[in-house]
């Protein structure tokens, strides 16, 4: 095997203005909010910005300010979900060996049952896998009137008696908070009672926060409090890392697990794709945390660093270039010749297929235009993949992100904490004197830190073209207008948007569920994505839409 690094191709989009024929970006922007009541319009105007970047004398960029992580105006048809969805659905859903009991009426447990495509692969048939199950207390009116704690405890007991799981997690839904059920107390009691089962709760009532984001934070707190650090014995393996913010949608985590193994990197835990209780419990033994989805998981990364010492870096395994870059970044951190060689060998082995696939689709995809409105990370990371096949992203935005996800973590000090954020608990974390270890890294640690190697996320805007349109929490109305005015070749969003977009004759790629495709992570995933996008932007469906008599 050769260890010679190869050059990754540069297919990045030129920074063209966003404007389409006859309409300037500003005109388009104006059109989006024209029909809103004044108050709504004022609010939305702060959440829709044109990416006008100013290069400062020191080379740094000044980016526009965007309003994010604020309430959606009632009545607006939004992409957003709730805190429960962020906590139970996103973060806790992918772990296979916890029985997740939804405490509430049946709906929440029903809708979050298997709908996120969190794949998991237990090593044997004997290992636990509760992902295909939905557990609920199915609260009835008498539980609302007289309280549901008793039923909750009975449900935990029944779950334990039937399944004997390692852990049971309880998720509070809207009415639970209101009627005053103390889910934490109930779980503590049951944990004592059951002895060999970890039982804990999340106060993730749907009305908390302004989007799923609050739920992520609550889940981060719970995982950190109830599981991280529980394993006292150091696991074996060289170059131990955690992968944070990867949820194994469509099998992404499998690709990355294989990649790390081939490179000789020990993946202690993933938060939380294809994960287990054991992974969380041993995660504090990692030397480095690698953060994929900054939005959903940065809390735990920070808390681990504070309590146990391991620093975190931002990585991105969406896109071939990004994957290569991220792998090299990990190697750079460990600064081990052997590891570096294995990483380079891996990239060298995988890249030809990537280049071949790019060359294959490029004649059909180059110059086409995408819009991405999704998630708290994907709307950014997937731009990489579009770039690699010559497509430009003319508009993008997140569903539940904060300003730092747009403008970079440097704005963190400037973010005002409002009422909705304030009521999400910030854990006070202190160094664990027994387990804390100074970051075990190379001599250049200091220089790495100087060049913002750690804890650095630059946000979406820095990577986007001049005057591209950035819209936080895009509404259906805005999306529809945008599509009508700009006629993109592809629109990326979620299931709620998909069919409306497609009615307009524009293919819609779901970036939550991947339209039941994927994996798209890593090199293999990139190839698959190129092909899927090629199929979509060149589908014959377009040619069929108009009847010959129309």
């Amino acid at each position: 095997m050769s260890s010679k690094p190869i050059h990754t191709p540069d297919l990045s989009t030129p920074s063209e203005p966003f404007a389409v024929e006859a309409l300037t970006a500003d005109q388009i922007k104006g059109e989006l909010t024209r029909q809103y009541p004044a108050k709504v319009k004022r609010k939305r105007d702060k959440q829709i910005v044109l990416n006008e970047k100013t290069k400062n004398q020191d080379g740094s960029l000044t980016l526009p300010v965007i309003n994010a992580n604020t309430r959606t105006s009632p009545g607006i048809i939004t992409q957003r979900g709730c805190t429960y969805a962020g906590c139970k659905g996103v973060i806790m859903g992918p772990t296979r060996d916890i029985i997740n009991i939804t405490h509430g009426p049946i709906g929440c447990g029903f809708y979050s049952w298997l709908t996120r495509r969190n794949q998991t692969k237990p090593p044997t048939e004997e290992h636990d896998n509760y992902i295909p199950y939905s557990f609920s207390t199915d609260m009835q009116d008498e539980n609302i009137i007289f309280g549901g704690e008793k039923k909750l405890k009975a449900a935990i007991q029944e779950a334990y008696d039937m399944f004997h799981p390692k852990a049971i997690a309880v998720f509070a839904t809207c009415p639970v908070g209101l009627i005053g059920d103390d889910v934490h107390q109930a779980c503590r009691e049951m944990k004592r009672e059951l002895v060999d089962c970890n039982v804990f709760a999340f106060s993730c009532e749907g009305y908390k926060g302004v989007s799923q984001s609050a739920g992520h934070h609550i889940a981060n707190n719970g995982v950190f409090q109830h599981m991280v650090g529980n394993q006292t014995k150091e696991p074996k393996g060289k170059f131990k890392i955690n992968l944070l913010g990867e949820y194994n949608i469509g099998g992404d985590a499998f690709v990355l697990e294989e990649m790390f193994e081939k490179c000789g990197i020990t993946l202690l835990s993933t938060f939380s794709g294809n994960s287990t209780v054991e992974q969380f419990e041993r995660s504090h033994w990692a030397e480095l945390n690698c953060v994929m989805c900054h939005r959903s998981i940065n809390y735990v990364a920070d808390m681990i660093e504070k309590k146990y010492g391991a620093p975190w870096i931002k990585v991105n395994f969406i896109g071939a270039k990004a994957t290569a870059k991220s792998l090299r970044k990990i190697a750079e951190f460990f600064n081990d010749a052997d590891l570096t060689e294995r990483v380079e060998n891996f990239i060298t082995a995988e890249y030809p297929a990537v280049l071949k696939a790019q060359a294959e689709v490029l004649p059909r995809t180059e110059g086409k235009r995408a819009m991405l409105f999704v998630g708290g990370s994907r709307a950014h990371s997937y731009q990489e993949l579009f770039k690699e096949i010559g497509m430009k992203t003319i508009a993008a935005g997140y569903e539940f992100a904060h300003r730092d996800d747009y403008e970079g973590r440097k704005v963190l000090p400037d973010i005002k904490v409002d009422a909705d954020s304030r009521n999400i608990e910030e854990l006070t974390v202190e160094r664990d004197e027994k387990l804390y270890r100074e970051p075990k890294t190379n001599a250049d640690l200091e220089s790495l830190q100087k060049r913002d190697f750690f804890e650095n996320y630059q946000g979406m805007m820095a990577d986007m073209g001049e005057k591209a349109m950035i819209i936080d929490d895009v509404s259906h109305h805005e999306a529809e207008k945008l599509i009508e005015m700009c006629q993109p070749d592809i629109f990326c969003a979620g299931i709620k948007e998909k069919y409306a977009v497609q009615k307009l004759g524009v293919p819609c790629k779901q970036l939550h569920s991947y339209d039941y495709g994927g994996p798209y992570a890593g090199f293999q995933g990139a190839v698959r994505f190129y092909q899927d996008i090629d199929r979509m932007v060149n589908s014959k469906v377009k040619d069929m839409i108009k009847a010959p008599w129309e």
Binding site: G75, R80, Y111, P132, S134, I144, L178, Y207, V210, K503
Partner: protein, 463 residues
């Protein structure tokens, strides 16, 4: 390799835990029903998540946009009540999305808070947020009561409460109201077709045909052509009669219409299968002078012909079914008529009347059937029963595919939600033609299985 690896045949009585529910919550039913009003925007008065979950599930089932707005409750609203949110929502909705009707349903959150929707709606009118000629209607859909079918029934009843008007004591002889219940858009279309063939002027509500099976045209209209219009809903009060298809989903609206406008009601089983469709046609005859056009009789005869041709493959086959009570009753009746043996019949929707209705259609001929309703009548339970004694066929929603694969039993997808196939929206199972489709699906399931498993020497070319 079992997908549901923790499910065993050890059936334990449970009191508190529901595992793999055979129902979901009220508001989604209200949302689906509201989409059956022309130019109506459903509105979820509660947290954003409810609305998001309902829209996602409806879109996954219908493969269509399911537009709805939300009051976007925050912690503040849950403390101070949702009035401000709903007021602002109505203002925004009418400004931006221009519906004719906003159909508000509550959630467990706003129900627990106790928001008074009519009062808030009145306030919205007072504030000028509701343009002239536009309406806000509502129903209460506490998620902790009943199931999604209850929510559907409640919103359907709201259509009567808000719109139905009796303008005269003389009813219009050939105009009848059809309340189709929670069926597919294609089923509503098929029911309307039969009514039209019977030379009756039918007002169908809710009516999602033309709404949740809309064409792709490169233009997007938030309000497709289908759905019952306000004028039609108002006119229901002058109809000669109401046919409520399915007591659970359609009964309350028919009852309300009878009380409010003295329109006589007829509550029938959903017209799925031969006998239930016969009852539907028989009831229509009360209003059209008794005539049945030859083409309907011929359709029926074709169904009988097909049943006759298929019957040897159906005879004695055992079936496990789960889903909504109204659907299960008619399906069970049809299966019994096909000489099949329904064995386990499960609904998460609570209500003892279901047991009686199933008992009636089973009659004395069918033995050893387990019928269960309510919270613990879930898909873990039915799976456990199947593990104890297997069946030949599963009929139910998409979630049955896990049982289907684990137990290697064919699954006919029927009911809600169907997330992993396309076709249920477009091809009816209601009416005689729908029954033919059901038969075709059942036969295919059995014969595909036979073709797969037959030893070489008994692989069959013909049937």
């Amino acid at each position: 390799m079992a997908l549901l690896r923790h499910t065993t045949d050890d059936v334990v009585e449970r009191q508190a835990l529901t595992v793999n529910p055979a129902k979901t919550c009220q508001p989604i039913g209200a949302m689906y029903a509201a989409l059956g009003i022309n130019r109506c925007l459903p509105h979820s008065h509660g947290s954003q998540g409810c609305c998001s979950y309902h829209r996602s599930t409806l879109s996954r089932h219908y493969k269509e946009p399911a537009m709805a707005a939300t009051s976007s409750f925050t912690e503040g609203s849950s403390v101070f009540g949702g009035q401000a949110n709903l007021l602002q929502a109505l203002n925004t909705i009418f400004s931006v999305y221009d519906p004719d009707v906003v159909a508000v349903h509550t959630t467990c959150l706003s129900e627990t808070i106790g928001d008074d929707i009519p009062q808030i709606a009145d306030a919205a009118v007072a504030k000028g947020f509701v343009p002239e000629g536009k309406c806000v209607i509502h129903c209460n859909t506490p998620s902790y009561v009943g199931s999604h079918t209850t929510g559907f029934a409640n919103m359907t009843k709201a259509m009567v409460d808000y719109f139905s008007t009796s303008t005269s004591e003389d009813k219009i002889a050939d105009q009848i109201n059809i309340i189709p219940g929670w069926v597919e858009p294609a089923d509503m279309g098929e029911i309307k077709r039969l009514v039209k063939m019977m030379s009756l002027k039918g007002i169908t509500f809710p009516d999602t045909s033309g709404v949740l099976d809309a064409p792709l045209t490169a233009e997007y209209n938030m309000y497709p052509k289908g759905g019952a219009t306000i004028e039609q809903l108002e006119a229901t009060g002058d109809s000669a009669g109401t046919i409520a298809l399915g007591p659970i989903c359609s009964g309350p609206a028919a009852e309300a219409l009878q009380n409010k406008c003295q329109v006589p009601q007829n509550t029938l089983p959903l017209p799925i299968g031969l006998r239930a469709t016969d009852m539907f046609i028989q009831t229509l005859r009360k209003y059209n002078g008794g005539n049945v056009p030859a083409e309907i009789t011929a359709e029926r005869g074709r169904l009988v012909d097909l049943v006759s041709d298929m019957s040897q493959y159906f005879y004695g086959k055992t079936v496990a079914l789960w889903g909504d009570p109204d659907q299960l009753v008619s399906l069970t009746q049809f299966l019994v008529d096909l000489d099949m043996r329904p064995k386990y019949i499960i609904t998460g929707t609570p209500g003892k009347a279901f047991l009686r209705r199933i008992g009636e259609v089973l009659g004395d001929g069918v033995k050893d059937v387990i019928v269960k309703q309510g919270a613990q009548a879930d898909m873990l339970y039915i799976h456990q029963l199947i593990k104890r004694e297997r069946v030949d066929l599963l009929i139910g929603n998409t979630y049955g595919k896990y049982i289907s694969r684990d137990e290697d039993i064919p699954l006919i997808r029927h009911g809600f939600p169907i997330l992993d196939r396309i076709g249920h929206q477009y091809f009816p199972t209601a009416g005689y033609r729908g029954a033919m489709r059901l038969c075709e699906k059942i036969l295919d399931a059995f014969l595909d299985r036979q073709d797969r498993d037959a030893p070489e020497e008994s692989f069959e070319l013909t049937m």
